[in-house]
């Protein structure tokens, strides 16, 4: 059976040391001011008047119905068979339409490359049989990654052992593949996914898919597309050159 990858975050084991965030920064050389993953610290007062702190490590949730893919006009955002939501830099136009489409705020434009950056579940590491960089370094072993379709995997065992929840709401329920364990504590609203107003821009793009909607496309969207096409030409040349070399 094809693998399906999931991430588990045991918030009881998380200590907010930021190892995951810095490990990711080093592994994927993300520019300062941007990060593919995060740890949210939520403080509140409980019903009994006592303070409480909860910690939520987070990243792209690699959703089954990923709205970022729908929003992407160039086809750069795609989902691999094993569930990973990935990004093809070579054809990403940097139009940023996927950014507000993500209710988990997992995507951002890398100003150095002018392409979208996001957590890939460390696909290049996983493809080599390594753990994601955040998982490997996690001090409390709060992050656990693996194949949910393998009944003998650690994630399958842990999912069966404890009560895990996903970050979903009535409004946003798009099949995330990131699980959280909170020992029964309710998830604070601060970490729940939210629809962004600008997500409407994504809706416009969906209309573009239908050739009948072409007439309604605004100038800005055309510019995005234009940029995407230029990338495609570059990509074509790159791939072509590569193939020619192989031919010799």
């Amino acid at each position: 059976m094809v693998a399906k990858y999931v991430m588990l975050a045991d918030t009881v084991r998380c200590i907010d040391c930021k190892a995951c965030v810095i490990s990711c920064r080093a592994e994927w050389e993300t520019p300062m001011g941007y990060s593919r993953d995060w740890v949210k610290q939520v403080e509140f007062i409980k019903a009994n008047g006592m303070p409480e702190v909860m910690l939520f490590p987070g990243r792209c949730q690699h959703c089954d119905e990923a709205p970022c893919i729908e929003a992407c006009p160039s086809g750069a955002a795609y989902k691999r068979e094993d569930g990973m939501v990935l990004q093809d830099d070579a054809i990403c136009s940097g139009c940023e339409l996927c950014v507000p489409a993500c209710p988990y705020d997992a995507r951002w434009l890398n100003p150095k490359t002018n392409t979208i950056s996001k957590c890939t579940f460390c696909q290049p590491r996983v493809d080599k049989g390594l753990e994601p960089a955040c998982v490997q370094t996690c001090v409390g072993r709060a992050l656990i990654f693996g194949n949910i379709n393998d009944p003998n995997s650690e994630v399958s065992r842990l999912l069966a052992e404890k009560e895990w929840v996903k970050l979903t709401t009535d409004e946003v329920n798009i099949g995330p593949n990131h699980y959280y364990y909170t020992a029964g504590e309710a998830i604070p609203a601060e970490v729940m996914p939210k629809l962004h107003d600008r997500h409407l821009a994504g809706k416009v793009m969906e209309n573009v898919v239908n050739p009948a909607g072409v007439i309604g496309v605004g100038g800005m969207v055309l510019a995005f597309l234009g940029a995407g096409v230029m990338k495609l030409i570059g990509r074509r040349n790159e791939v072509g050159t590569h193939e020619n070399q192989e031919g010799k």
Partner: protein, 772 residues
Amino acid sequence: MSTPNQFDPSRRAFLGATMGGTALSIAGLPSQALARINAPHEHEKLKETTEVFGFCDMCYWRCGLKIRSRDGRAVKIDGNPEHPNNWGVVCGKGNAGLMVAYAPNRLKYPMKRVGKRGGGEWKQISWDEALNEVAENLNKVKKEHGSQALALIGHGSWEKPYHRLAHAFGTPNTTSPVFGLCCGPRGLANMMVVGRNLTGNETIDLENCKYFLMMGRNVTESLHNGETLGWVNGVANGAKVVYFDPRYSITASKADEYYALRPLTDHAFLLAMINVVINEELYDKQFVAEQTLGFDELKERVKQYTPEWAAPITDVRADDIRRLAREMAAKAPSVFVYAPRRMTRSSNDLGTGLSITILNTLFGVWGRKGGVFTPQKYNVPEPDLPEFKHAHIAHRVKTGGDFDFSAMDIPSEHIVDEHGKYQRADGAGVMGRWPIANAQYGLTNEMWRAMAEQKPYPIRALITAGGNGFLNSTNYDIIRKALETIDFYVAADVIPNEMNAYADILLPEASYLERYDDLQIGGAREGYVAVRMPAIKPMHDTRDAWTICKQLADRMDLGAYFPHESIKELLDDRLKKAGSSLAEIEKVGILKTARDDKINFPRDHGNPLKIKTPGGKTKAEFVPSMLKNMGYDKALDYVEQVRPKDDEFHMTFGRVGYHTHARTQDNIWTADFMRENVLWIHPEPATKRGIKEGELVTVTDQKGRSGEIKAKVTARIRKDTIFMVHGFGHWDKRMTTAYGQGVADSDLASYEVEPHVGSMSMGLSLVKVEKA
């Protein structure tokens, strides 16, 4: 696993349609391009790297590392899964170690001060010039004042060669902050009672412990990877956590019970616990009968400290104290009373430490599964060296420069020097001064004072190897005066800071990613020896500590103390004497002995615990004879602590998981999470003063020292206490990220001296807070 790249067919159709219809006509895309869209998706690549082993320098725990490099650049720090200090995990600080090496404001070449000392003006000089100048100046001080007129303060995982150099030079005045400013009182207390240090890399069987009574041990934020992971595993395995801290830390959020203990009153709570454990006979009767001394005397001395006595002092209810004692006893010996990491707080830290050790001893945790294990040691001999003038202090060199967990005795010559040799200027181990203070590590606080006051005898030269005397101590006037008074100051460090700004000669050290260092020898369940290898070539005109010290030694006619040609030769020589070699250890990073339950948990195997106390006893001493002989057993008794008046607060400070001491505030990767510290204040006193979240406040201590800092209004702190994260408020402009950010807690903390040990009592400060 290699899945072919997926390309959604519907998406492809969309692109074709769109381009055909609109975009193509805009961009003039040749039709040939469309076919190329069918090419498989490209994605990120994991670039090829080479890997070497090392151990971390970001804090004192020293986790095992694997450092990946590419094209001559270190690009990623991973944990070494074989290293018992971290089992493959690395914290945020450890991951950010790359930014120590790549900091643009590193010390890049040897420098000589021009202009006024501390004025911050330098000129670049050659290594030869720098080393010659240091050797000349040190020899001059030796000639004019004697070798004892040199002091050395070291703080880092590479300080060892500097200690050796100073010992070879002939001074007893070598010190590290670890004793007087940090762990001293608790290490000493363990030593006095059971002859064990239990600090440095603690030897707690965390995974199997069933009950943690944590006296402000903020193990998740003042974190050490292996210790924290072990503790998290212990909690996951069902251990109960009872946590005491005036502040609701992240560790508090993991606890089953949290007590906002009144600051500085831990000792009162612990005495009441001892009282209950003894009166209700909750102790390990066999261990107490067979392996301890002084039980009846202890019983008599704690009689007065009932839970009812402790309750109003500590804000912990009497029935809670009784219940906690009973709960712990039910889980003993798989229990642990967890001392804070830094225990330089109250005016009786020795008493607090003794109570913790006594309670652990009553519960019989030593040498038991789930309690405290007996470590193993990997035996790697030191090279043969000529005799040191102060041999008893040079003993530290033999033990690897670590805070020594295994030394079972304090040599008697630490107390009295019968050979007429100079005793330590800081008074550590000196009769009539601080006789019980550790003479290997010394009292850094008192060494600064000795330099500032030139008492009891002149100290005219100073070497510092890492560290920051200003931000890790608490009396800036004394530090400044010391630095201005001495004749010659040479600083070796990787990064600039307020202390090394005063140096006459500044020696740039290679970062820990660019060098070899002497071996790391440690004792966990398994004994081990680990290597630090260079991941990259030095990027600047820097050298490593051993090479610098050897080259200085050669210039001062002390070359015999550094007999090897290179650090690699030293490592190979040492490892060959241990049956291995440098080439061999470089393949694996670490060599270990096997775990052995019989050694780790002797009492689970019917064997008694091996004990030798400094008082010469082979049984644990509830009332240590050595302390009694000196009159210091009075520390067992509770001493009333300072209390704030209505408009005052206890001044507390501590750690956050991604900053170490005062040394990571300028690291751009850790500063990204916290660039400045804030002052935690409870909503009630904040409202009373009109202070709102994020507003600037002025905090002032009783001596008039003050600072301006933003407020964090939070119910996570007692109403009579404020808190700030340690290590901020840097004023050295060379620290481009940390400069001017937040307030230096060390400038507000107390500089009283613990009356038994001579360590600092930093928690005695009371402050006022007003809107700025």
